[in-house]
């Protein structure tokens, strides 16, 4: 956990995600309730001209949320938002990053991103976290 005195704009947080395997997508489909076959069924993908399954955007958003909950108790998160900017192919190894942009009135604002090893940014987002 990070205390208020540790925080300053420009500070970076990082979370390396494991490789997103087909098993990971099957587990996330079951756990999330999102059973869209484009994430789990290569036959269904090919039937509509998609080469292979790709990861749920909300799985990356869940990984990025761990970057926050690894550093602050969840009840201090005030808001959290992302835009999905690119598809995450199966077997990707994304990295979640956060940069503190501002600390004001006991609230830290962060810019967030999920990036693939080739530099593709798949999510861009922001969060506001109340400091204890």
């Amino acid at each position: 956990m990070i205390s208020t005195t540790d925080l300053s704009p420009g500070q970076e947080l990082t979370l390396e995600c494991p490789r997103i395997t087909r098993t990971a997508l099957a587990l996330y489909a079951g756990a999330s309730g999102d059973h869209n076959p484009v994430h789990i069924d290569i036959d269904a993908c090919r039937a509509v001209g998609i080469d292979d399954v790709f990861a749920h955007g909300m799985l990356s958003m869940a990984y990025l949320a761990r970057l926050l909950t690894d550093h602050w108790p969840q009840e201090q998160i005030l808001s959290y938002e992302v835009r999905f900017t690119a598809i995450t192919p199966v077997n990707s190894e994304p990295t979640c990053t956060g940069v503190i942009t501002e600390v004001e009135d006991g609230v830290a604002n962060l810019d967030l991103a999920v990036t693939l090893p080739d530099g593709t940014v798949t999510l861009r987002g922001a969060a506001a976290v109340r400091l204890a």
């Binding site: 587990l27 756990a31 990984y63 761990r66 938002e81």
Partner: protein
Amino acid sequence: MTTIDPSIVGSRSEPFTTTPERGRLRFFAEATGQRDPVYTDLSAAEAAGHPDLPIPPTFFFCLEMDNPHRHRFLADLGVDVRTILHAGQRFTYHAPAHAGDELTFWSEVTEVSSKKGGALQFIVRDTHVSRADEPIATLTGTIVVRDPKAAR
């Protein structure tokens, strides 16, 4: 290609109620690589001041999937689900929620817009989550409906 009628702004879904279970939250923690025991171990959660396992930040979106009528919104608009993409998602948190809480969800269309001459149509919806009238969270979801005939 269906044109989304801007007059749907302001339209609301029927509320639905669901109760997240501990087992489902443990499965979600496993599926998202969450190893903090607060999310899986009741005694760790209680030691951190929670009455039960906390609902993780994005799980409210998954609970929306429990709505038996969740496909009705797009079907009523005549939108083919294969033509949509999730463009953005926001969560605003008002109070913590936990396993066993009875949570009520209802949604309202807040914005309809288009880009590229209608090849991309955006629908923004707010979903309000409450527990016995206490606000818990507000979800803002943006979906984009793509014209399958337009150049990709």
